[in-house]
């Protein structure tokens, strides 16, 4: 007990080097835990983005690609589905509900999605939560738009504000002849919906009625004239499907995948997400590897710090030897010192992590749509921290062995 107290006093006497070492360990631990928390937070956030949707249907491509563009608004569809096919699938007996979505246009960096009113009822997130309107309501007019919470916040839109949709995703050509009106603003969900402008499928059709192949063609048709036209959609990008019975999911998936008239792909969102993790997992492993290296570096720095201090502390060791401490006691005290240092580093690192999470959470949410939950340390994280503590004792063996040898050689006399 007294030896422990002396070890602490010895550390306090060298508080600058000791403090820097503790800080280095704390930073490395905070980095590791931060990566870990972001990783699990991102997974949860992704998994929470869509729920209660049994299948997503799109043109045939990769399942991850379909998931990314239809749910996460990342990347683009390679092809569309004809409206004929959509109606064909919709009429199948297994289908309880189906919501078409049409992507491809944008508004000031936010994606525009054509859909139906059913989207607001059927889209569910975070374990079955439904979308809610913070203000306004669903589409009442052809040129009504519903915007996500982030769109409203960043562009400072209110109900009734005009919106001009741009053709394509990064384009200077705008559908400025047919402006929209903000009819509804959705409550914050923490999903890509927050960053989406939703309009009706008919409106998507209407703004493209005088377009062909990405450019204006033929005489312009005014917004008033277009209301009189047949605005039944020609094609959609993807569709969200709910089945009547979970048992029918695979049968319907097979039917869609083998649909003879058009190459289609149906995916189970959860399965596609797993596939996505398979890909992202490599980057995750790399990140974890790098942060583990940072911890290793900090621990080696600590060992070097203890090691370089040994020469000045030979006097101290000689005193311990004179009062009857064996060389093994001196070696053990260095290991205890390292473990104490690391423990302080871990405690400070955990404090840094939670302060950092608390401070950075709103920014991460705003910038990446990633809402990191502040949760306690998991068993896995405790296990990692315990390993760090164990590793510190292990690397401390290097200076400890050196101290052992020095104290055997020096005995009570130090020739400095």
């Amino acid at each position: 007990m007294m030896l422990l107290r002396l070890a602490v006093a010895s550390l306090l006497a060298r508080w600058i080097t000791v403090g820097l070492t503790i800080f280095a360990i704390a930073l490395s631990v905070a980095l590791f835990l931060g990566v870990e928390k972001t990783r699990t937070g991102a997974r949860e956030s992704f998994a929470d983005t869509i729920s209660n949707t049994d299948l997503i249907m799109g043109a045939r491509s990769g399942s991850v690609q379909l998931l990314l563009y239809s749910v996460f608004r990342i990347g683009n569809a390679t092809n569309n589905i004809t409206w004929q096919t959509f109606e064909d699938i919709a009429s199948r007996p297994e289908v309880a509900w189906i919501v078409p979505i049409s992507l491809g246009d944008s508004h000031r960096g936010f994606r525009v999605m054509g859909t139906t009113d059913a989207y607001f009822e059927r889209y569910k997130y975070r374990g079955g939560r439904a979308l809610a309107f913070a203000r306004g309501g669903p589409f009442a007019d052809l040129f009504d738009a519903v915007i996500g919470a982030d769109v409203a916040a960043q562009l400072n839109y209110k109900i009734g504000d005009p919106i001009v949709v741009a053709h394509g995703l990064a384009s200077f050509t705008e559908h400025d002849d047919k402006p929209f009106r903000v009819a509804g603003i959705l409550a914050k969900t923490g999903t890509p919906v927050d960053r989406t402008v939703m309009v009706s499928l008919e409106a998507i059709e209407a703004i493209h009625v005088d377009w062909k192949g990405g450019a204006r063609s033929g005489p312009a048709i005014s917004a008033e004239a277009v209301r009189q036209m047949d605005l039944n959609p020609q094609a959609i990008t993807a569709a969200m499907i709910g089945v009547k019975s979970r048992l029918q999911v695979f049968a319907l998936q097979r039917a869609i995948n083998e649909y003879p008239q058009e190459p289609l792909l149906a995916i189970l969102p959860g399965v596609a997400l797993q596939e996505l993790w398979g890909i992202v997992g490599i980057a995750e492993t790399a990140l974890i590897g790098v942060s583990a290296m940072v911890i290793a570096t900090a621990l080696l720095g600590m060992a070097a710090m203890i090691f370089s201090g040994l020469n000045e502390r030979r006097r101290e060791m000689a005193i311990f030897r004179a009062v009857g401490a064996g060389p093994q006691v001196i070696a053990a005290m260095l290991v205890i010192e390292a473990v104490l240092l690391t423990l302080a580093g871990i405690v400070l690192g955990v404090a840094l992590l939670y302060t950092g999470l608390w401070v950075a959470r709103p920014y991460i949410d705003a910038a990446y749509g990633l809402y990191l939950p502040i949760t306690g340390l998991t068993g896995r994280e405790f296990y990692v921290l315990a390993s760090v503590l164990g590793a510190s004792a292990l690397v401390a063996l290097v200076p400890a062995v050196r101290a052992y040898r020095l104290s055997v050689a020096d005995g009570m006399t130090v020739r400095i």
Binding site: M2, L6, A13, F320, V323, G324, A325, G411, M412
Partner: protein
Amino acid sequence: MTDTAENRTALRLSAVSFAWRGKVPFRIEIPALDVPSGEKLVLLGESGSGKSTLLSLICGILSPDQGTISIAGHDLAAMRGRARDRFRAEQIGVIFQQFNLLPFATPLDNVLLPLQFARQRRARLTDPRAEAMRLCAQLGLAEGLIRHARAADLSVGQQQRVAVARALIGSPALIVADEPTSALDAAAQSAFLDLLFAQAGAAGSTLIMVTHDNRLADRFDRVLNLQDIAQITHQAAA
């Protein structure tokens, strides 16, 4: 400790030989040295006369190549490393020339330090802290200084007195002092010896002091010149 005749001899060296096998080979031989219990012995020797080696041998930090060293009847050579460390903790109090104390600890912790390694010495004390305070008071050290100051904040003279208290706590059989007065001025040296003798006498400890300063020699029971009892050979020269 059973044989009373052995009990009366605090330290006995016979036919001891030890060689350093370093870059500067060096051999010390001590045919015989007996120190009766309770004696105050001074060994005079210049630096390079084997003082440090002799002290390390007596304290069991070094083992002789030949011969026996026994303290209070116990042969050091018969003990293994860990047992020898424990034996040193129990039987010997050491006072260095200077830098005696752990600089980051309080003087009180410094005084109590040997008791961590010496169970019997601690068992002799009902209240180690009170005993440490008593010793320090006897050595003229203020209580506040002992409890709260850091050892590094003490003057050299104060540090040497704390070192005496540490050597004496729990009454070890033998006090070994390596030039404990060399860092003190003449007046302080004499006062320091007064305190050391008084406390060693009160504890019943044998005192062996090594010094190059023969001005203090006449205050001891016995004076020995190191070159009379030990032969040094530098094998490199031969």
